[in-house]
Symmetry: none
Subunit: 221 residues, 4 copies
DNA sequence: CTTTAACCGAGACGGTACGTCGTGTCTTAAC
DNA sequence: GTTAAGACACGACGTACCGTCTCGGTTAAAG
């Protein structure tokens, strides 16, 4: 599992507000946060997010520009920069809605079943345009450690945790091999998906998805 | 193995001359190519490559610019664009020298030994600044299929082939599991390395390298 | 004298409250104006004016911004815009206090004496930072006829009237030349002062002031 | 005359090339100036100057923006910033062509005649849109000493010199008063013109021009 | 020894996007 | 109804690189 100390640096230091529950305004992190001034316009936020998502449908992350988003959303550039640190930060937010990225843990009859369910959920998310966007986003986040961390936090952390927990449970129950390195196995599974996504201009095919699940099960047992 | 048809598109379509043998002049693509005019300046080529490598030591791939390389190398921008298609193409060339990227197949006493040797060689290459640069390059190549293919061709193809061949041999000889999906296993191994490199600002640690080799062997068996 | 019809357009059309008596509250334009709601905060007004004047001490009119004034004064931008039309309007008000711009006519033993007294008063005002500010304000008011008129009204009108009246009296009494074009003479005198102020980054020097008075007297004779 | 030491700071330090002879490329200030690289595009320069002048016909100096000029001229913003330090520098160049600002000294039968001819020439230049532009430019140059100096250098210096020389000659020959302060007289004349231009939204009228010449002659005699 | 043709350095060109600043307007809750 | 706070749409700023182009000037093989 790629999660390590260096990546857990304080994401909240960003001036991206806490949006863990996918709510637009974020939790009342500090209850005593005296609010003054004109409140943030929910309309603006929505049109920005919408414009971003619409643009991502027919152009790459690289090609999307803050300027174009602002224009399309009928919004001042300043308004975008007020709430997001940069393009990647914005797209991260924009796509985390439609891709419902922080799901509840899956429920399966046994570890093996849970594992397959979780894999299928993640792979479904990565099919088609969605997978390409995530991969491009991942790539775009390189070079800025803060964005790297933000991407991981928003897109991978929860998935990794769920998968790790499933594998651990399987090991405990005797469904999976006891000598398995849980963290590394998680890395190998998600790693192979991104490696595939990033190595080809084609979207993820069903074929790969099936092979991956089957091979993984063989490895785990 | 992420190699698939769509990625094998004609790399030579690029106006990058053939440099597969790592020679600077390569060419002679067409033996009957009447050559006249001033020959390419070896001095310029070297200073460009040197400048690029020096810049990569203390800045990210993203931060390097053709303009800065030209200035530092004391060379016209035109000269760079004449020989390389763009920044990624240039850096690809620049780092493939120091990283001796197209090695001969490893020789081991048995499949297991060969596998470990090959893994160690690749992981050594990915240690320190080198690994980060490769990962950044990989990321930077996203969005342009041609560059994606070029990166794969230059950096991964041969490594994948070697590893695949080792695994196949191991399967044939009975050293490794017969039901192993060779291509997928290769993907999982290299995928986990890139996933690790790209998920953390830290360079690859020895710890991860050791774990990966050990876990891989367990999987292969 | 530059005063002409086009410049006398209704200054009161501005939503700057009447401040001709230099009182801060002025108003009571209509005695029977039923006043309700929170009264204007004198404290705010003062801190705005103070902040403006303090900023003008170490930066040019151009560099002062409403935003910065609001921040420095601890006041909402709205409050400034409610009472002044824009930056020039504000600074006009701010500096007309310290520069006591609407003085009583001077009293001299004869026309010549009055003239010298009036000139000295005006030139003293233009010495040092003050003169530069007035010139910058004058410059800043260009392009917006309303501001041009406002500047003239606040800064020049009364001075022009006084000087014109002195010259006229001198002509009537035979102290000055009868064929003098009063208006033009006033223009030439004030014009030369502004020309000087605007042509050099240096403040007005005593030397120029003395020469101007002497030369003017020679012309009037 | 407002010319003083502080204003003579090295205008050539600007990266505005020498254009004293109104030629586009400037004199070969340093004959040994090794020229390399692509030469400046005369076509671009012309379209920039043209676009600027066209825009000034129907909008104020304040309203003209580098961005709009670039667009209208079909030119990159960079190209403008490469050759002119800012908007005022550009407009200064643009209007100094059409206004033929650095004329040969006038030739008159006597000092008085020369004086009238020179005044008429300057006043003709200031009539209509031209005068307003010069005044706005003068105003816009306030706040940046370098621009102040540049404006003076480009627009006033030569005119001041010519007028001063005429007056001096007149004094020498006994046509004008011997006790006249030449520099101050020049200031008063040009000052009154700018004062007039800047105090009213109207262009300079013939009436004022006539009065000024007549009154000036009275003063000089 | 000249021609020819591709090379080279320098750097200007048209563009695109950046991230920042200031404008004048607006929308809250608090007073 | 005013106030402080501050979000908003807008427009311009000046900068950084992109990849292309156009110069004058090499450099060597071919004629």
């Amino acid at each position: 599992m790629a999660l390590n100390a260096s990546r857990q640096i304080h994401i909240e230091d960003q001036d991206v507000q806490d949006q863990t529950e996918n709510s637009s305004q974020g939790s009342i992190t500090e209850a005593s946060q005296k609010i003054t001034g004109r409140p943030r316009s929910e309309k603006s936020r929505n049109s920005i997010i919408d414009a971003t998502n619409k643009m991502l449908l027919h152009m790459s992350v690289r090609e999307v520009s803050i300027e174009a988003v602002a224009k399309k959303a009928g919004v001042g550039k300043t308004t975008i920069y007020r709430w997001w640190p940069n393009k990647v930060g914005l797209i991260l937010d924009a796509v985390s809605g439609p891709m419902s990225v922080l799901p509840a843990p899956v429920e399966g009859v046994d570890a093996k079943d849970s594992f397959v369910k979780q894999m299928e959920r993640f792979l479904r998310m990565c099919r088609g345009r969605g997978g390409k966007i995530v991969a491009e986003l991942y790539a775009e986040a390189q070079g800025d450690p803060t964005l790297q961390a933000l991407f991981f936090e928003k897109f991978m952390l929860h998935h990794e945790e769920i998968l790790a927990s499933i594998i651990q449970t399987g090991k405990d129950r005797g469904d999976f091999r006891k000598d398995l390195d849980t963290a590394l196995t998680v890395d190998m599974i998600y790693g192979s998906i991104f490696y595939h996504l990033m190595s080809s201009p084609e979207p993820l095919d069903q074929n790969f998805a099936n092979s991956l699940i089957m091979e993984s099960l063989r490895i785990l047992k």
